[in-house]
């Protein structure tokens, strides 16, 4: 019969020392971590109820003024020792250490109620978000995007001219020309080593220089941009924002003057590393983005090769990856969709210059 207990007494620290306690016929053996062992005959022991709630057995031995003391709370060991103490145990009543059943049940019921509430909310929120998103007019969406842009760009520097910004603008116009939607796309290039791009509701799209620097061809960049355009057009960004902020905060943001909605967006962006989309949304954006590329006469293989390379990147996970489906699988799906597509003419940009411009810009991102 063995347990652990705290031993107090002369030569031991005032807050006690942990020791292994073993009970055998006639002796209680106390073994400290440093190898010291004490065999205490049961006949030496004085017992009383102890512990902060009276459910431990306190044993004392040695001289009466500065005794050694051992506090044992394991109910099985307590009972074993009590059995050996026999008549000297009379009057020592150790409180049962099983919590009252009613308390256990109450605690469990509350726990289940919480879990049920959380599950219900999770299931319902999807429908609620759908309902809310359908009722938001496009003008609101555009305003929402504009209002939350500063929060997204916070901590980075926007690049407004140079090869990188010009190329993104040009590519963006080329792709947007093929899209029939009520949105006007505004392209922003932000200095950051993050391999990421972000689509805000209403057509504000931010491309980080880290992404441009990682793309090996302009087609690869175009692939990501087409993907982001689809997030806007299919209102994925709006949906993500409604889900992240709640409808009321969103309303405040649109109508202006609601103090902390802006900081909430900042919090959302910082904590989630951008807006999170579901796997289906990502797949839709891939599929329709690829169709958009082909419509614009851009080779879709860039999209596939970019994701393949992302998948190979080991070490620090690029931000784009963390929320997106497994990149290899995506690339495979894109390649399947590409099969039999006509060969497109390469894009007419001086890509090495663009990449150099993107990687030259110093990183000013505030890491979180």
């Amino acid at each position: 019969m063995a347990t652990e207990g705290l031993v107090f007494g002369p030569g031991l620290p005032p807050q006690g020392e942990r020791a292994a306690v073993e009970v055998r016929a006639g002796t209680v053996t106390v073994a400290f971590a440093n190898g010291r062992r004490e065999d205490v005959p049961v006949s030496w022991l004085r017992a009383r109820a102890g512990g902060w709630r009276g459910d431990a057995l306190q044993l004392e031995w040695g001289d009466a003024t500065t005794p050694f003391a051992l506090s044992v709370s394991d109910p099985i060991v307590v009972r074993a020792i009590q059995a050996q103490l026999g008549s000297r145990n009379a009057g020592v009543r150790v409180v049962s250490s099983h919590p009252p059943r009613a308390a256990m049940i109450a605690v469990l019921v509350i726990g289940i109620a919480i879990a049920g509430g959380v599950t219900l909310l999770a299931v319902q929120s999807r429908h609620l978000v759908d309902l809310a998103v359908r009722r938001i007019p496009v003008e609101w969406e555009v305003r929402l995007g504009e209002q939350s842009l500063p929060a997204v760009l916070a901590g980075t520097k926007e690049v407004s001219d140079g090869d990188a910004a010009r190329t993104v603008q040009d590519l963006g116009d080329r792709l947007a020309a093929q899209v029939e939607s009520p949105y006007t796309f505004t392209w922003h290039v932000a200095q950051s080593s993050q391999v990421n791009a972000l689509a805000l509701p209403g057509g504000q799209v931010v491309v980080f220089t880290g992404l441009i620097a990682m793309a090996e061809t302009p087609e690869e960049l175009a692939g990501v941009m087409a993907h982001e355009i689809q997030h806007v057009v299919q209102r994925h960004s709006l949906r993500a924002m409604v889900r992240g902020l709640g409808f009321r905060a969103l309303l405040g943001l649109v109508l202006g003057g609601a103090g902390d909605a802006g900081s909430q967006v900042a919090g959302l962006v910082e904590h989630l590393g951008g807006l999170r989309f579901s796997r289906e949304q990502e797949e839709l954006a891939d599929r329709d983005g690829l169709a958009l590329l082909q419509q614009a006469g851009i080779d879709g293989k860039g999209m596939a090769s970019f994701f393949e390379r992302l998948a190979k990147t080991t070490g620090e996970l690029p931000a784009l990856l963390s929320t997106h489906p497994a990149s290899e699988e995506r690339a495979r799906r894109i390649r399947a969709q590409l099969a039999g597509a006509p060969v497109a003419t390469p894009l007419p940009y001086d890509w090495p210059a663009v990449r150099a411009a993107a990687s030259r810009s110093p990183d000013t991102t505030q890491g979180w």
Binding site: F8, Q58, E60, I110, I114
Partner: protein, 268 residues
């Protein structure tokens, strides 16, 4: 224990203190949601259900549910926040005590790995320390002990930080040594200390002594922590002096009363 995070810390301030915890890369601390004062760049915050200790997750789903129910019962938030150093350098994060008083650091391994504290005492702890609930089983202590039936149980081998109101004192009781304590002044104790309630003798001192009808009896062996000012006592004084209660503007001993208030400038 490998799962316990060893943190370095420094306590600042005199009577309203805060603790700054220095984290090596990948080290983490847990705190009640809302306790953070500041943190350096590179520390990642994550809100978790429960306390993030291994023991909480190994109990499975039912364990998590029980934990949630218990935390709700104590009036605590269901969630805790983990602050992890995600950078490659040492980084600090600080937690401020929500009440005027002292912050103390307790190394749980030195205490035998187990500490019982009053409900609001917990400030933060190294990740790996389990922050659970323990129910008092003695009816008398539960009803009249000042803490109710529910106390916090900190288990593990790392640093834990407690805060208490007023001055905090640590006392070591030898085996059998007794200490009588006002029920509101107990902050924490080692589980080996026997904690019971005793009624004040002589009804006169109970009625006029202002100490209440009961006090706590602590009997060694073990270490106990006491606070000089139970927060409820401070709150009572503040409430009594609050303007809504007719305590407006009158400095201690001032006979000017309302007139003096004209000159104060803090009347808005």
């Amino acid at each position: 224990m490998a799962s316990m995070h060893e943190v370095d810390y420094k306590i600042f301030g005199d009577d309203m203190q805060y603790v700054e915890v220095e984290l090596d890369p990948q080290e983490a601390v847990v705190a009640e949601a809302g306790g953070m004062m500041y943190m350096q760049d590179g520390i990642a915050m994550e809100t978790i259900f429960g306390d993030g200790s291994a023991s909480a997750s190994s109990k499975g789903f039912m364990g998590a549910l029980m934990g949630a129910g218990k935390r709700l019962l104590t009036g605590e938030s269901l969630f805790m926040t983990v602050f992890q150093n995600a950078s490659q350098q040492k980084r600090s994060v600080a937690f401020g005590a929500p009440i005027p008083g002292k912050v103390i650091a307790v190394h749980l391994a030195e205490m035998g790995g187990d500490l019982i504290a009053q409900k609001d005492a917990f400030l933060c702890a190294a990740k790996g320390v389990s922050i659970g609930i323990a129910f008092q089983r003695r009816l008398g202590v539960g009803l009249f002990g000042g803490e109710g039936f529910i106390m916090q149980r900190l288990q593990g081998d790392g640093w834990a930080f407690l805060n208490a109101c007023g001055t905090l004192v640590q006392k070591d009781l030898a085996a059998g040594e007794k200490l009588y304590v006002d029920t509101g002044c107990l902050v924490a104790l080692q589980p080996s200390v026997n904690y019971d309630i005793q009624m004040v003798r002589g009804i006169k001192s109970a009625l006029f002594g202002g100490e209440g009808l009961f006090f706590a009896t602590l009997q060694g062996p073990g270490r106990v922590w006491l606070q000089s000012l139970p927060f409820s006592r401070l709150a009572g004084r503040i409430y009594a002096a609050a303007p809504q209660r007719g305590g407006r503007g009158r400095g201690e001993g001032s006979i000017l009363g309302g007139l003096g208030g004209l000159l104060d400038g803090d009347n808005g």
